[in-house]
Structure formats: C-alpha cells, structure tokens
C-alpha cells in the first residue's frame, strides 16, 4: 500500500516535467518548408530549424538574410516568412471541446504571409496578430504583413 502511494506521488511529481519536455503532447505545429538560415528560440535555447521540427507555444522564429520558412499549425493556420523576419507564437490554444480557443502571434519585423485556420473561424475575436504599430484581427483569410 505504501509503495503504491509512493508510486502515485512520484508519478505526480514527474507529471510537470513530462508536460515541460514532452514535445509529443505539447507541440502546436511543425516547420514544413525551409531554406537558408532559420532559428527557433525556445526559453533560453536556440535551435537550428529543420523540416518537421515540432513547434511549441512561445517559440520565437527568426529567418536570416537568406532564410525563409513555412509553418503549419494544428488548427490549419499556415504562416510563411521571407528574409530577415521574426515572429513569436505567443499563445496557441486549440481545444474546441473545452472551449479553449486562442491564437496570438507577435510580428517583430519582416515579411509574413498568414493563412488563418480554425481558431479564427471558431473564435474570430481570439485570433490576433500583434505588431509594434497595431493589432491585426483576422476572420478567416489570407493576410500579408510587412513590418520595417
């Protein structure tokens, strides 16, 4: 009995770690296409992007002077970035059954194409692109954004 409760305790203690590192359960999308230098900053780590790399909420994606990248997120959002561009996937929640829907992208600079997905369709007010100048709200559409 004691060993069972110890086991439960150990499992409970390990759970947060699984969530933090278990990219299998927490990924929000993938890097689908890529050329040149592209890096992902996750917490304090810098990761060289490669096709099929799994993205997480909070990831910062940055292309170099010769870099470009295409991302597909779980809700069908397609984002592609040209040279010298930088965005952050600030918040991504796609759990319709729990009524948890939210997608906030931050654009720092560059040229970016957005094809919005199911979050924008199901909860139009919850899909937003923040920029240094203004906030762009999307209701299911193709948006092109250039930020100097």
């Amino acid at each position: 009995m004691k060993s069972i409760s110890m086991g439960v305790l150990v499992a409970a203690l390990m759970l947060p770690c699984t969530w933090a590192y278990g990219s299998d359960t927490t990924h929000i999308g993938i890097v689908k296409s890529l050329a040149g230098d592209v890096v992902i900053t996750r917490s304090d780590r810098t990761i060289q992007a490669e096709p099929n790399l799994r993205l997480q909420e909070g990831d910062v994606v940055q292309t170099g002077p010769n870099g470009k990248v295409g991302l597909i997120l779980e809700d069908d959002t397609v984002i592609s970035m040209g040279f010298d561009s930088k965005i952050a996937l600030k918040r991504f929640m796609f759990q319709p059954n729990e009524k948890k829907l939210s997608f906030i992208t931050r654009v720092f600079h560059g040229t970016i194409s957005f094809l919005s997905g199911q979050i924008a369709k199901l909860a139009p007010t919850q899909a937003q692109i923040e920029t240094p100048y203004a906030t762009v709200g999307s209701r299911g559409t193709h948006i092109l954004i250039q930020v100097d």
Partner: protein, 199 residues
Amino acid sequence: MNILVRFALLLLLVTLTSGCAKKMLVALVPDPDGKIGSISVESAAGSVTIDTSYQATTIGDPQKMPSTPAPVAKKKLDKIFKEALSIQPEQPLHFLLYFQEGTELTSESMKLLPDIIASIKQRNSTDISVVGHTDTLGSKEYNTALSTTRALAVRTLLVTQGAESNAIRTTSHGKENPLIPTGDNVSEPRNRRVEVVVR
C-alpha cells in the same frame, strides 16, 4: 565645407528620409480557394476594416490611425512578399470519415484509407491529426467518449496500413467544431465524423 563633412550630411539626410520612415503594411488577398475574408487593423487611435481583396492599409506611428484602406497592385505585393510566398506550404488536407455504427467505418470511408496513406507519403508528413466529432444530440460525456473511441479506431487502421504511429495525434472536438452548424440536441449525421488532417 570639407567634402567629407558634406558627404556625412548627405548620408544623414538620406537616412532620415528613407531609413527612418519605418512603417507597417497590411494587405488582404484572396484565400487559396478564392474566398475573401475580413481583417481589422487597430492602433491606439482607432481601427480600420478591410474586406475587399487587394486592399491595404499602412501605419507608421502606433499613436495614429492606420491609413484608410486603398487598392494595392497584386504585382507590388508579389514583389514585396516574393520570398515569403515562395516558401508557403500547401494547406493541410482534410479527410472526412463516417461510421455505420460503433467504430465500424462505412464502405465509402474505408475506400478513403489508401488515399490518406498516399497523401501522408506524398507530403512526407510527420504531423497527422485524427479528430473525432459529434452532432449536438446527447450528453457531452457520451459524445466525447464515442468520438474519442472512433478516432482511436481510425488511428489503429492508419497504423495498420503503414502510417507512423508517433506521427499521429488523436483528439476529440465533441460537438464544438461542427461541419454543419445546428442548434442544440439536433441529430446531424454529417457532423458525426472523424477528420484526418495531413500536414
């Protein structure tokens, strides 16, 4: 005046008039399927709405209003966004599967499985979702459980036919993401489905 000083002043002038004129451009273009959506662009001073394709607004100061949306040439956008658009991935593919009863697929849906496997291979996809959906009839618990069981059954079928198990994630959206929107407690067979999304 020293020629070097003159040159420095000229350089400063060029920088001030071009480099410092930092701003943002936001344009609306048609979706790949031709549909036109709508966007709002909101600064600290107010917001503008664009709901016509090839219209754009610009803003250079977050304390000012975005410019009144105006037509922008497709050619100009194609030039500015050339690199971004050149790397744009294909949109995810959705396959709709239906059931006779329990977890048994209809024969039409069974016939789709080879197409799904083929598209996974063709796209070299390592990120596949299998999502259970229900109509609005019945309790949330029952519907969530049934649609999850159906999604797991489809996952098993796909793995049996050659899909990589760790590339597939199964989930249920219950009645909250219907194909055909209805009121509550409505039987709608088209909503009782499993969608396979291949990215």
